[in-house]
Amino acid sequence: MSEVFEPKIVAFVCTYCTYAGADLAGTSRLKYPSNVRIVRLPCTGRISPMFILKALQKGADGVLVSGCHPGDCHFDHGNYHARRRWTVFNSLLQFAGVPEERVKFSWISAAEGIKFAELIRDITEDIRKIGPFEEYHTLIAETGSAAPL
C-alpha cells in the first residue's frame, strides 16, 4: 500500500470538559488530523457501551471516550462511572477480539486544547499503524448484519 491509510475515529466526549477543550484547540488554531468525528454528550456518564459498538459497526477504526478529569466532573461523578464502565467494557471488547488500541479513554479538561490536539495526533498515528479494522468489517459483511438504528 503506497497510500497512507486514513482511519476513521469517533470520539464521544462530554460537553463541559473535552468538548470545550476541543473548542479551545480550535480557537487557538492548533492543527491536528481530520480523522476524528466528535459526538457531544452532556457527560461521559451518558456514554453507553452501545455507542462504542455502534461506532465500530458504522466502520470506525478507533473510538475515543474522553471527559473531565477525576474530581472535575460537572455532574459530580459521572466520569467515574464512565471510567469504571469503560474498564469493564474494554476487557469484554478484548475478549471479543477488539484490540485494546482501538478504544481509548482519556481525561481532557476545558483548558487542555494542546493536550487535545496531541491526543488526536497520537491516536490517529496509532490507528494508522495498526491499519483498518478489517476483521470487524468482514464479520459484519459475513453475518450480513447491516447497521440498523
Binding site: V10, G26, I38, L41, K54, L149
Partner: protein
C-alpha cells in the same frame, strides 16, 4: 415527514476559507429529509437569523441545523431565533464546523469532507429530536440557614434585611458558635462579644427570622425552590415561652461539676444551664445526661424554684416540617483532637492548653475574668510557649492543609499575653508565618516588634515536665540547632477540622465533601459559594478553614445568591432530563445508585384497589441535572435522556 433546513454559515472567512461551503450545501440539499439548504456569510447576524426564520415559516420546517461555530457560542442565539419563528427551540442543532473543523485542519478537501459528515450526522440526529418544554419550577421564598455562628447569622440577617423569610437552625442552646468563645479578635483587637452579641440579638429579634435553637436538621428532600426539611427540636425541658430567663434554676441545681463546653472544660456548669451568660435566647436547657432527676428519679429542685412553672420533665423531642426554597449551610468547624500529639503532652499536663482554651482564659467573660492564669494552680505564667501548626500541615499525623487562622491568633495570643502579663516572655514555634489579609502582616509584625513575641522557626519534637516547668524541645531551623525552652504554660495552635458528623450531614443534604469532610463548592474558583446541588449554598468554615472576615464575606455572598433566587417567581430549567419508562422498569435501582443527585425516586404502582403491584424508578424533574448516567446504567433500557436519547445518538453515529 421530516423537513429539515440546513444553514451553512461562512463565518466570513473563518469557515469558508477552508470548507467548501457550496459543496457542503449541495451535499445537504440532496440528503434525505432536507427541504432546504442555503449558505450565507454570517447567519448569526440579524439578516442571517431573519432568513432562517423566514425559511422556517415558508417551508414549514420540522428541524433546523446551523452549520457554524461551536454550539457553546451560538446555540442559544439560533434556538431563540427558531422559537421566534414558532419552531420548538429543541428542534434546532448546531453543527460545529469552525472550532472543530475549519480552524484545525489545513487541508481544504479533508475539512470539507469532515464538515459534510458532521452536518449530516446532526441532520440525522435532529430528525429524531422531540419538542421539549422548559421546566418551570415554583420558588418557595423561605431560606433555611443551618448554623448560628457568625456565618449563619450574617447570611440570615442579609436575607432577612432584604425582605426574605429565614429559618435559622442552631444545634446548641444559643447562637454564637465559635466566635462567641473568642476573646479579642485580630487584626483590630476588638472584643468578640462586643461585636457578636448585638448581631445575635438582632438575628433573634428580626421579624423575618425564625430562630430555632437546640434544633437539628434531620432530613432534606426536594430540590431548588422546593425543599422539604425536617427539623428536630430537641427537648429542652424548659418552656421557652414561660421561662423569663431569671436563672434561679441554674443557681439551685445541685449538679455543679459538669465540664462546661463553652469554656472548653476550664470551668463547670450545672445540669440546667445556658451555654454562656450572654446566650441568645437566654433560656436554659436541661442536660438530660447529667440531670439528677433523669438519673435517679429524684430532685426536681429547678422545678420547685421556678416561679413561672417553666420546667417540664415530660417534654419530648418534636419535629417540624418546613417548606424551604434555598439552604445556606454554615455549620462551622471543630478543633482537632489534640491527644493525637502525645509528644505535646496535651491531657497529660494541665498547663498545656489549646488555642481555644487560651481564648477563654483571655476573655473578660471567661472563667478567670480575663486573667491569663495556669489551669493547674491559677498562677500567672512567666513564660508561655506557643506551638503553631499543631496538627495542621502535617500529613503524617494531623491534616495536610493549613488551618489558616493559627498564625494570626497565635500572634494575637502573644500580644494579649504581653498586654496582661507585663513581665512575661512568649516564644512562638512556627513553620512559616502566613499572614495574608488586610492588616494581617502588620499585626504579626506588631506582636514581634512591639510586644516582644520571640519567634522560633521550627517544629517542637518533645515536651516534658521538669522541676515544675514544662520543657519544650524543638529545633531552630534558622540557627540550625536544637533549642529547649522552659515554660509555665504551652498553647497549641490546633488544627481546624470539619464537624465530626460533616460527612454524614453532607449525605443528608445531598452535597459533596472533600476527603477531610469540608463541604465542596460547585467550582473552586468560579462558584465558590454554591454546591453541586442547586439551591444549596455554603458559608464559613464548613467549606474550609476561614477567619471571621472571610466567613462574613462568604455568608453575604451566599445570601445574595439566595436573594437572586427569591427574586424570581418561577425557575426555568433546561428540559434535558431523564425520563423513565415505567412499563419496562424492573425496579433494580441501578439508576438510583448511579444518579449523583438523588434524582431518582422509587414509585409505587398500585392497582385500583390500592394494592401494591410493583415499584419502579421515577425521575424527579426538579432534581435531575441531565447527566444521563442513569441511562447508561439501566439494564432494561428503561430510562432515556431527553435531548440525547439512544435513538438520537445512534442516528448521529450512523450519520457520520
Amino acid at each position: 415527514m421530516a423537513k429539515i433546513g440546513v444553514f451553512v454559515c461562512h463565518c466570513g472567512e473563518n469557515i469558508a476559507a477552508k470548507v467548501d461551503c457550496t459543496k457542503l450545501t449541495a451535499a445537504m440539499e440532496s440528503h434525505p429529509g432536507v427541504s432546504i439548504a442555503t449558505e450565507y456569510k454570517y447567519f448569526c447576524s440579524d439578516p442571517g437569523q431573519e432568513s432562517i426564520k423566514k425559511a422556517i415559516v415558508e417551508q414549514g420546517l420540522t428541524g433546523v441545523i446551523v452549520a457554524a461555530c461551536s454550539p457553546r457560542m451560538h446555540e442559544a442565539t439560533f434556538r431563540k431565533a427558531c422559537a421566534a419563528a414558532g419552531l420548538n427551540p429543541y428542534l434546532c442543532e448546531i453543527a460545529n464546523i469552525r472550532e472543530q473543523c475549519s480552524w484545525v485542519h489545513s487541508d481544504g478537501d479533508e475539512a470539507t469532507e469532515k464538515a459534510i459528515e458532521i452536518t449530516r450526522s446532526l441532520v440525522e440526529k435532529v430528525k429524531r429530536n422531540n419538542e421539549l418544554q422548559p421546566i418551570l419550577v415554583p420558588v418557595t421564598k423561605r431560606a433555611l440557614v443551618i448554623g448560628g455562628g457568625i456565618a449563619g447569622i450574617q447570611a440570615a440577617l442579609d436575607i432577612a434585611n432584604a425582605g426574605g423569610e429565614v429559618v435559622l437552625v442552631e444545634r446548641e442552646a444559643s447562637l454564637g458558635g465559635h466566635m462567641a468563645q473568642l476573646s479579642e479578635t485580630f487584626p483590630t483587637l476588638d472584643c468578640s462579644q462586643c461585636i457578636m452579641t448585638p448581631r445575635m440579638v438582632e438575628a433573634a429579634q428580626h421579624p423575618n427570622i425564625r430562630l430555632l435553637t437546640y434544633a437539628e436538621v434531620e432530613k432534606v428532600e426536594g430540590f431548588i425552590g422546593n425543599f422539604h426539611v425536617r427539623v428536630k427540636m430537641k427537648a429542652r425541658y424548659v418552656d421557652m415561652y414561660a421561662c423569663t430567663g431569671c436563672g434561679d434554676c441554674i443557681q439551685k441545681c445541685p449538679q455543679k461539676k459538669i465540664s462546661a463546653e463553652f469554656d472548653c472544660g476550664l470551668a463547670n456548669r450545672p445540669a440546667i444551664y445556658t451555654p454562656f451568660a450572654q446566650a441568645v435566647p437566654n433560656k436554659p436547657v436541661i442536660d438530660r445526661q447529667h440531670c439528677t432527676y433523669f438519673k435517679n428519679g429524684k430532685c426536681k429542685v429547678c422545678q420547685k424554684v421556678c416561679q413561672t412553672n417553666a420546667i417540664n420533665f415530660d417534654m419530648e423531642d418534636e419535629y417540624l416540617d418546613l417548606e424551604i426554597g434555598a439552604i445556606v449551610v454554615a455549620t462551622g468547624f471543630q478543633i482537632q483532637n489534640t491527644s493525637l500529639y502525645g509528644e505535646y503532652g496535651y491531657g497529660r499536663y494541665p498547663d498545656v492548653v489549646t488555642g481555644l482554651q487560651f481564648e477563654r482564659l483571655a476573655s473578660a467573660s471567661g472563667p478567670t475574668g480575663g486573667r491569663i492564669a495556669r489551669p493547674s494552680d491559677g498562677k500567672e505564667p512567666e513564660t508561655v510557649v506557643f506551638i503553631q501548626c499543631a496538627g495542621s500541615r502535617d500529613p503524617s499525623k494531623g491534616v495536610s492543609y493549613c488551618s489558616k487562622i493559627c498564625c494570626m491568633y497565635t500572634a494575637k495570643h502573644a500580644m494579649l499575653y504581653a498586654h496582661k502579663n507585663h513581665h512575661g516572655t512568649s516564644r512562638v514555634f512556627y513553620m512559616d508565618i502566613r499572614a495574608a489579609g488586610k492588616g494581617y502582616d502588620e499585626f504579626t509584625r506588631r506582636a514581634i516588634e512591639e510586644d516582644g513575641a520571640g519567634y522560633i522557626r521550627g517544629r517542637v519534637s518533645k515536651l516534658w515536665e521538669e522541676n515544675g516547668k514544662l520543657m519544650v524541645r524543638g529545633v531552630d531551623t534558622l540557627l540550625g540547632r536544637p533549642v529547649e525552652v522552659p515554660a509555665d504554660m504551652v498553647v497549641l495552635a490546633t488544627a481546624m477540622v470539619p464537624q465530626p458528623d460533616a460527612k454524614e450531614f453532607a449525605k443528608t443534604l445531598g452535597i459533596g465533601c472533600d476527603e477531610y469532610g469540608f463541604f465542596n463548592e460547585a467550582h473552586m474558583k468560579l462558584r465558590p459559594v454554591e454546591t453541586a446541588t442547586a439551591g444549596i449554598f455554603l458559608a464559613g468554615a464548613c467549606q474550609s478553614p476561614k477567619d471571621i472576615p472571610d466567613s462574613v464575606a462568604q455568608a453575604s455572598a451566599a445570601a445574595s445568591k439566595v436573594l437572586a433566587l427569591f427574586s424570581r417567581e418561577k425557575l426555568e430549567r433546561e428540559p434535558i432530563i431523564a425520563m423513565n419508562n415505567e412499563a419496562t422498569c424492573s425496579g433494580c435501582w441501578g439508576c438510583v445508585l448511579a444518579c449523583p443527585y438523588n434524582a431518582i425516586e422509587k414509585k409505587d404502582i398500585t392497582d385500583r384497589a390500592g394494592n401494591l403491584i410493583r415499584r419502579v424508578a421515577s425521575v424527579n424533574p426538579g432534581l435531575c441535572q441531565g447527566c444521563g448516567t442513569c441511562v447508561t446504567f439501566c439494564r432494561s433500557n428503561s430510562i432515556d435522556l431527553a435531548g440525547f436519547t439512544e435513538k438520537q445518538i445512534f442516528a448521529e453515529v450512523m450519520g457520520l
